[in-house]
Subunit: 346 residues, 2 copies
DNA sequence: CTGAAAGCGCTAACAA
DNA sequence: TTGTTAGCGCTTTCAG
């Protein structure tokens, strides 16, 4: 730990080490390493060889400070514990590939306080753009975002006012459409089962839209059941058992997501409840898991991959035009009837 | 876009703006904002008020360069598309909470080339430590890691040589133990179903351990079936149907993960195959989803939350002692018999 | 308890 | 095509 002092005495090599090793100025080394400006093939090779030999890794901290540009895109999402946000992320990564931009994700656990903290932290790295879930943010978040001077894309939801750009679906409309499909199939005693999460504004809006449409048809929810925490599949089973025990005459169950819906479906199959004749079922998200179930649950696509992709494209597109002429992209989810809503009654 | 030039003319406020607004030197402002050194409560308040009023967000790029320290921990994992790595992440985040360290994740998709690229990118931010999945890395990766001069923790697997620290389980042993349990329950015609992923070294080692133990008992796998891509639950169904059509006399199916195992279980239940009497089933990971299934699949815990936690604790512990006295933590997964392995034969 | 000076490692802008 | 000169915004170190 002392006799020899290799070039990398402590924290990584510097451009200077490569410069000395190759006999080329730091500036030219920098040019080569960034493929910028014209450099003769000869020096280029010498530099590359020296860098490789030393194992040089550029210091982006210094580079970012000098160039006032950082190739990072902040992505702020509420959760990683169901498959929806990872799929949004996949869409973002895919679209960012080859643009030189890199996503950095922060997770809020549906807590506004955490959102504020995560956003602050992320902005302190001066990213090139921000993608964040939802349209509901604390005042402090909104101020920070406005002041950041970079493109902001709010995703998932379009029911509300955007700060800059927005890419998503109307959850209110999704709820309405599902209600209409259920009503026109002739179901009349409808129950709702969902998560107990006041901060999940999208689930809330779906339920509101659903209720609205029922109301316009002169109907209302016959019963509701909420849960929080635990295995969604198991909770779906349990809640279904509970709600049916309490309100036996229900003929349709609308779940706030596919995973609890799948649990409910498994329960009905086990309990010998005829689906979709005696009982109709629907979820939300169109997750891949449903494909493997014995019966296909009715659902509605949440377009998460495309949302991620479009959001990333907006960021990648406007190099730095942020907060000017925000785009608004509303995607249209498609209803999947699956096997758990019977044919509409003529 | 021109008449007035607010303090934040372009890219964020600086310490200087806060200094001017509060009438306190930049240095003292910096001290206040970092809670470092003694500052009189009076000036402290003035600074805080000014910073808040302006909406100042510190620039960590500059801070990192000046202090030669960055509160980031690089986390490099192969995938986000099943629940295992998100759970590792949760363990890491939890342990890092309150340490001032922040995880930054990179995903390799099980590609060594991507791993190299992601690692290079991450190291260029000069993180305080690296957590990465697996013990198998390209030469280039190993060189970069050794040269980084920061603590490195390889996770998930302990069957091999670590660069610095390692936290995981022995997948070879997990495979062996499952084989022993199956054999002692009296099953004799065993099939294996897994993913076609040469780069998933942990799945490979489980299978090797499994085969070894069978061999020592004078047995061998009766059939195997591999898949890639698509819905794991559905693939589990399909593969199970396929392998049983080909090799009807199988009496046990060992799956490389719980999701395809769950698909297989649903298939067997549908097909009226008696579980566990006529057919035994086992998976791997002990995912939460299993709780919601009508029958509990036999499995083995992969300890992913604890692995994440312990790895993060190592990084948080050694402030900068990296690569000195690497720790080796081997966790012990517990076999869950569930309802799909019959009682061992006396 | 507070401030002044000197860089951290790199890149923009200009010169040669 | 290559090199030189100034910083980027902050923190370290040392003086008051």
């Amino acid at each position: 730990m002392s006799t020899d002092t290799p070039p990398e005495s402590r924290r990584g090599l510097t451009l200077r080490d490569v410069s000395e090793a190759s006999g080329v100025s730091e500036m030219t080394v920098s040019r080569v390493l960034r493929n910028r400006g014209d450099v003769s093939p000869a020096t280029r090779e010498r530099v590359l060889a020296a860098a490789r030999a030393l194992g040089y890794v550029p210091n982006k901290i210094a580079g970012g400070l000098a160039s006032q540009r950082v190739n990072l895109v902040a992505v702020i999402i509420p959760s990683l514990s169901n498959m929806v946000f990872p799929e949004v992320l996949a869409g973002i990564s895919g679209a960012l590939e080859g643009t030189g931009l890199q996503p950095v994700v922060g997770v809020t656990n549906y807590s506004p306080a955490r959102e504020e903290a995560v956003l602050y932290e992320m902005l302190s790295w001066r990213p090139s753009g921000v993608i964040l879930a939802g349209l509901e943010h604390s005042e402090a978040c909104v101020s920070m975002l406005r002041a950041a001077g970079i493109p902001i894309v709010e995703i998932m939801d379009v029911d509300g006012e955007a700060i800059d750009s927005v890419v998503g679906i109307s959850h209110r409309r999704a709820g309405r459409e599902m209600a209409l499909a259920i009503i026109s199939a002739g179901y009349r005693r409808i129950g709702f089962l969902g998560t107990k999460m006041p901060e999940d504004h999208r689930a809330r809006k779906r339920l509101e839209g659903f209720r609205e449409a029922l109301g316009e048809a002169g109907m209302e929810l016959a019963d509701t059941e909420f849960y929080s925490g635990g295995s969604a599949l198991r909770k779906g089973r349990e809640m279904t058992e509970t709600i049916l025990a309490r309100t036996a005459e229900l003929d349709f169950l609308y779940y706030s997501n596919d995973m609890i819906g799948a649990g409910g479906l498994l329960y009905c199959l086990d309990a010998g409840i005829e689906v979709p004749e005696r009982m109709g079922l629907a979820g939300f998200n169109d997750i891949e898991l449903l494909e493997g179930l014995p019966v296909r649950l009715a659902t509605m696509d949440s377009c998460r991959h495309e949302i991620g992709r479009r959001a990333a494209e907006i960021i990648a597109g406007k190099s730095s035009s942020g907060l000017v002429g925000g785009e608004r992209i509303e995607l249209t989810p498609k209803l999947q009837r699956g096997d758990t809503i019977r044919e509409p009654r003529g």
